[in-house]
């Protein structure tokens, strides 16, 4: 297993090198000359120009420029943004990245889970009404024109029903008197969610392992999980953050909903297909012969192996929704990486655009890496090397 992980990691790093190189040359090949642009930019004072010229290394050869770019890139020095001068690109990205990450991760995990469960159920009841209904609805959303769907969702829930805010990340009226910045609250939200997720994982790992956890350990597990969630909420409340957290959450709902609607059918249909194959497997028949209850045969046998190919789809859908991230973030005015890339490209902010593009790629590579590891964890056949180190 360890060898497998390191092997994958090596591949990821190699891909990253190539990707960053590509991004660099792509930016070099863009029309419009950086030198001219910033020399004629009246916003930048003379002293800063010299500093910038040096920092960008524009007096060196292209190869040397590339070399120092790579060196700087891997030290996290991405230069200074033109349009938000003098803010370093790194700081901007570090502010935007979590927002994009949280938004797309939530939407993808949600749509994957929904797609997985629906696909499993409809494959198990193939040919029945629920199968047709879910397939038709899923395909309708899947093939919908994304910006249109987003508009419809906004119109319905925000404009018409007024349940949720139209767009943005926060409600400025609420936050004008807030004792925290949006970033502080968001950071706390993310760490709170991470603590809950890790906690629940550990609880279920230690208390619910084995084939048939006893009733007592199930009760323990549930109460521990509930206590954990309650504790996190109480801490947030005592910090006075709860209302702000709720505000950010409310702003997340519509984009997450839209992304989920458009994405879940991919996983669902894939899961359905994959499971229609696994139900034919001899071990599924054998599981029924063993007298296992129907849901056990479905979940632990047919669905468990059908899950494997759909894990790949999780990454693919993450990739496609990230590349559509610019659209989502623009439609919902979500101040994340996609929107940053969009505005940076429009305003010729090369350092920022390069950084944003590079980080989008890194993000995807990491997702890929995680999916590979997940795949290996889920399928014991993958890492098999002859010894039983699985």
């Amino acid at each position: 297993m360890r060898r497998y992980v390191f092997g994958r990691l090596g591949q990821v790093i190699l891909t990253l090198l190539i990707y960053v190189t590509l991004v660099y040359f792509l930016m070099q090949a863009m029309p419009g000359d950086i030198t001219m642009m910033y020399l004629s930019n009246p916003k930048i004072p003379q002293a800063a120009r010299e500093e910038l010229r040096k920092q960008l290394g524009l007096d060196q050869s292209l190869f040397m420029q590339y070399f120092s770019y790579m060196k700087n890139f891997f030290r996290g020095e991405l230069g200074v943004s033109f349009s938000q001068y003098p803010k370093p690109v790194w700081d901007i990205l570090m502010e935007k990245l979590p927002r994009t990450f949280v938004l797309f991760l939530t939407a993808n995990v949600l749509s994957f889970y929904i797609g997985f469960v629906l696909g499993k159920v409809i494959a198990w009841r193939r040919g029945r009404a629920i199968d047709y209904a879910a397939t038709v609805v899923g395909i309708t959303f899947w093939t919908a024109f994304y910006p249109l769907l987003a508009l419809v969702v906004i119109w319905l829930f925000a404009y018409n029903l007024k349940w949720l805010p139209l767009n943005q990340f926060i409600d400025p009226r609420l936050w004008s008197t807030a004792p925290f910045t949006a970033n502080q609250v968001f950071g706390n939200m993310v760490s709170g969610a991470a603590i809950v997720a890790i906690g629940i994982f550990l609880i279920s790992y230690y208390l619910l392992r084995g084939l048939k956890p006893s009733r007592r350990s199930r009760v323990y597990a549930w109460s521990l999980a509930a206590a954990l969630v309650a504790a996190v909420l109480v801490i947030a409340a005592r910090k006075g953050m709860l209302i702000y957290i709720w505000d950010i959450t409310r702003h997340m709902i519509l984009p997450v909903l839209t992304l989920t609607l458009i994405n879940f059918a991919g996983t669902m249909l894939l899961m359905r297909d994959s499971m229609l194959e696994t139900v034919q497997e001899d071990y599924v028949l054998a599981a029924r012969a063993k007298g296992l209850p129907d849901h056990v045969v479905r979940d632990r046998y047919a669905a468990r192996t059908a899950l494997l190919p759909t894990v790949t789809s999780l990454v693919l859908s993450l990739a496609s929704s990230m590349s559509g991230g610019m659209v989502t973030e623009t439609m919902f005015s979500w101040p994340g990486l996609g929107q940053t890339l969009f505005t940076a490209a429009l305003s010729n902010d090369y350092p920022l655009a390069t950084g944003a593009l590079a980080f989008t790629g890194i993000f995807l590579l990491i997702a890929h890496f995680i999916a590979d590891i997940l795949y290996a964890v889920l399928d014991p056949r993958i890492t098999y090397t002859g010894q039983s180190d699985v």
Binding site: K290, P293, V296, R381
Partner: protein, 345 residues
């Protein structure tokens, strides 16, 4: 002796686009506690279909036309799904034809056996089940450290043994072994068969062996049933049936395989193909290929009747002699592929 399983006039058809496949037609037999029955017949004659009927695991397009299956006196097809689920593995376990693929690739082998135990015996803890699996592994000859390994880490023979261990896990009163050893080479095949037989005798369990290979059946069964195209043609004590076959098909089948019961026979092939079960021949289903066939055979199906104690037969013209010269004369006269038939005993 107590009857454990009884099939009464079982008739089961599969619905297909082309029509009804008459896979089982009027099959009756009964099996006592502790007895082993061998079902033999060419590929596609309905052996697996019988096994699946007994497990009540038939595919959705299968239809029970008539007859019934009594297990321990209970009509299997009158039970609820839940009752059948509890019966499976606890009472009737199975070694599948595709034993190699009947283990789930993503769980360890031991885990899958433990699962069967704790499902059917909720009072058994997982540790206790684990110990039981260890002793089962010992019984079938797999090192017990192998428990936590995954199926892909097993060799073919080991998987086969693991599947046998799994069938034994809940001490069922009956195990159906559908071609339990076909995927293995002959030496391993023999060894495993003998091991199953040993275990079976030790714990006085009933068994149904299914094979297309007469020599396998001859080695392990108390009673043999010979099937052809969805029908039983002959059934009786193994010694009786193999020493004095009454049905011409039994006779041909025995001689289609070399070396049965250790005697030397030259190979006789049965000319022709088994019939299409969508539209089986009228009368006796074997008549187009039978060297003993008379006019009657093509018109009326022979009745299933007991000819001597425990020996059943369906045939209009049973072989009367002791598998002797008359067969040879008759066959060669009709131009069958007889190379040489020994005089037997």
């Amino acid at each position: 002796m107590d009857t454990l399983l009884r099939l009464e006039d079982l008739t089961m058809h599969y619905k297909t686009k082309a029509g009804w496949v008459q896979a089982i037609d009027g099959v009756s037999f009964s099996l006592d506690k502790g007895q082993s029955l061998g079902l033999v017949g060419e590929s596609g004659c309905g052996k697996t279909s019988i096994a699946m009927s007994i497990m009540r695991l038939l595919p959705y397009n299968a239809q029970l036309v008539k007859g019934r299956i009594l297990f321990g006196g209970r009509n299997l097809y009158a039970l609820s799904d839940e009752e059948v689920r509890q019966l499976r593995w606890k009472e009737v376990a199975m070694i599948f034809q595709a034993a190699m693929n009947s283990l789930n690739p993503v769980y360890s082998v031991g885990n899958q056996i433990i699962e069967a135990i704790v499902t059917h015996e909720p009072e058994t803890g997982e540790d206790e089940a684990r110990e039981r699996v260890e002793s089962l592994f010992e019984l079938v000859g797999i090192p017990k450290e192998r428990m936590d390994h995954y199926p892909h880490e097993y060799s073919g023979g080991m998987k086969q043994r693991a599947v046998i261990a799994m069938a034994l896990a809940c001490n069922p009163s009956l195990i159906i072994a559908d071609e339990p050893t076909t995927a293995l080479d002959v030496i391993v095949q023999d060894k495993i068969l003998r091991e199953i037989e040993d275990i079976r005798r030790k714990i006085n369990m009933s068994m149904i062996y299914i094979s297309h290979d007469v020599s396998v059946i001859a080695e392990v069964s108390d009673v043999v049933g010979v099937m052809y195209a969805g029908k039983l043609l002959e059934l009786g004590p193994a010694d009786d049936v193999f020493k004095r076959p009454k049905n011409p098909y039994t006779y041909s089948l025995m001689h289609a395989y070399p070396s049965i019961l250790g005697e030397k026979h030259d190979l006789v092939t049965i000319p022709g193909e088994p019939p299409n079960l969508l539209d089986p021949p009228t009368g006796c289903r074997f008549h187009p290929r039978c060297d003993w066939a008379t006019k009657e055979c093509g018109e009326t199906a022979p009745l299933w009747r007991e000819i001597t104690e425990g020996h059943y037969l369906a045939c209009h013209n049973p072989i009367r002699t002791k598998q002797g010269k008359s067969c040879k004369q008759q066959k060669t006269a009709k131009g069958g592929d007889v190379i040489d038939t020994s005089d037997g005993n």
